[in-house]
Amino acid sequence: MSRLSDLPPDVIETLSAALDGALNSKEQAGLQARLRDDEGLRLALEELRQVRAGLGMLPRLRAPRNFTLTPEMVGRRAARPAYPRLRLATALAALAFALTFGLDTFALRFAAMPTALQASAPAEGIGAEAPPAAAAEMMLEAAAPAEATPAPSAANDAAERSAVDAFSSATATPLPTVDPALKAGNVGEAPAPEAPAAALPAPTQAAELEAQESDQALADALEPLPQEQAARRESRWTARPLQMMTAALGLLALGLGVLTLRARRPT
C-alpha cells in the first residue's frame, strides 16, 4: 500500500494536478489506469483531496479596515483645482492687454501730434514770405479742415486777387497781407478789392510770374516735409514693439481664456 509520504514527487505532482483538472487527456488516462490497480495511490489521492478541501474551507476574513489611499500616502499633495488659478491668470492677461492697447493708441496719437504742429509751423513761415494766396491756403487748411473741398476754388480766387494786388503793389502800395476775410475762411464772401480800371490790362507778365510762384509755394506746402516724414517713420518705429506686445498679450489672454473654460468644464 502506497502512502503519500512514500510516493515520488512526480507522482504526487500528477495526483495534485489531477485534483485541479490540470492534466491533459493522455496523462489523465494513464493515471486512471494506475489508480485502478493501486489502492495505495487511490488513498494518497484521497489524502490530497482532503487537504485541498480543508484549505478551501478556511473562512474568508473581513478586512479590519479600509485600505484606501490618501494623497499623503502616495507622496503627493492633493491636486489643487486649476480653475481659480487659470481664471486669475486670464484676468491679469486681459488687463495687461487692455493697458498696452490703450498705451499703444495713446502713443499713436501722441506721435501724430508733433507732425501736425510741424506741418502748421512751416505754413506760418511760408505765409510770411510766400504770396498771400499760399498763406491763405495754409491758413484755410489749418483753420477749417471740413471745408477742404471748396478750398481749391477759393485758392484760385485768391490767386487771381493776389495777381491784382501784386499789380497794384507794383504801382504804389506795399505787399498786402492776407485779407481778414480770407483768414476767417470767408473766401467766397470776401468782397473783391477795388482795382483801378485803367491799370488792369498792363501787368499780365508780372501777374503770371506771381501766380506761378504762388502755385509752387502751394505745392511745397502740400508736400510732406523731410522732418515730417522722419517723424512719421520714428513714430512707426516706436509703436512697433508696443503693438507686438499688445498682440502677444491678446493671444495670451485668449489662450488662457480657452484653458480656463476647459478647466471649468466638469470632468
Binding site: 514527487p9 482532503q50 487537504v51 480543508g54 476574513l61 479600509n66 484606501t68 489611499l69
Partner: protein, 207 residues
Amino acid sequence: MARMLDEQRLLQDARRGDLEAFNRLVLAHQSAVYNVAYRILGDPAAAADAAQEAFISAYRHLKDHRGGSFRAWLMRIATNACYDSLRREKRRPAESLDDVDEDDADRPDAWERLADPQAGPEREALRAELNRALEDCLRRLPAEFRIAAVLVDVEGYDYQEAATAIGKPVGTVKSRVARARARLRDCLRQYGELLPSSLRLSDETSP
C-alpha cells in the same frame, strides 16, 4: 463583463492620477488582498500592514500594469509585500509558533465564525479545530509553498493566475502546490484525533 469594463475604466483613470478611481479598485480587492496576506503571514496586524503597502506600491507602479488580470497583478504585489514582511520578521526573531497560546477571540476568523448564526455549537467547534490545525500547518510551510497553497487552495486561483501572481512559471506553481499539499498532509497527521471524522485523514484510520 460590465465589472471588467468598469475595472478597465477605473484603471485608466487611476493611471492618469485619479486617486478616487484607484480607491474604488482598492475597495473591490482589499478583502482578497488582506486574506492572502493574513494566510501567508498568519498575523492580522502584519497582514494589514502588508495589504496597505501593497496598495500603495500598486498605485505607484500602475504604469507597469500592461493589461491582463489586474487581480493577479495586484496579488503579485501583495505577495511581494508579504515576502518583505517575512524577511523583516526573520531579522526580528519572534516567539516560537509551538509556544504561542492563541486567543481565538483575537482572531478575525473566530469573530466571523461566531457571527455565523447557522452553525451549531458542536459543528462550529469542529470547524474551529480544523481551521486552527490548517493554519498552524500553513505557517510551518516554507514561504514559497505556503504562498502557492494559499493562492490556489485558499483563494481558488488557477495555476496560470497564481503563476502571474508569484512571477514564476506554471510548472513551478504546480510543483509547489503539490509539495505544499503533501507537507500539509504530513503536518495534519498530528491533529488526527482532533479532526472531525468526516475530515479525518486516512492515516489515522488505517493500522
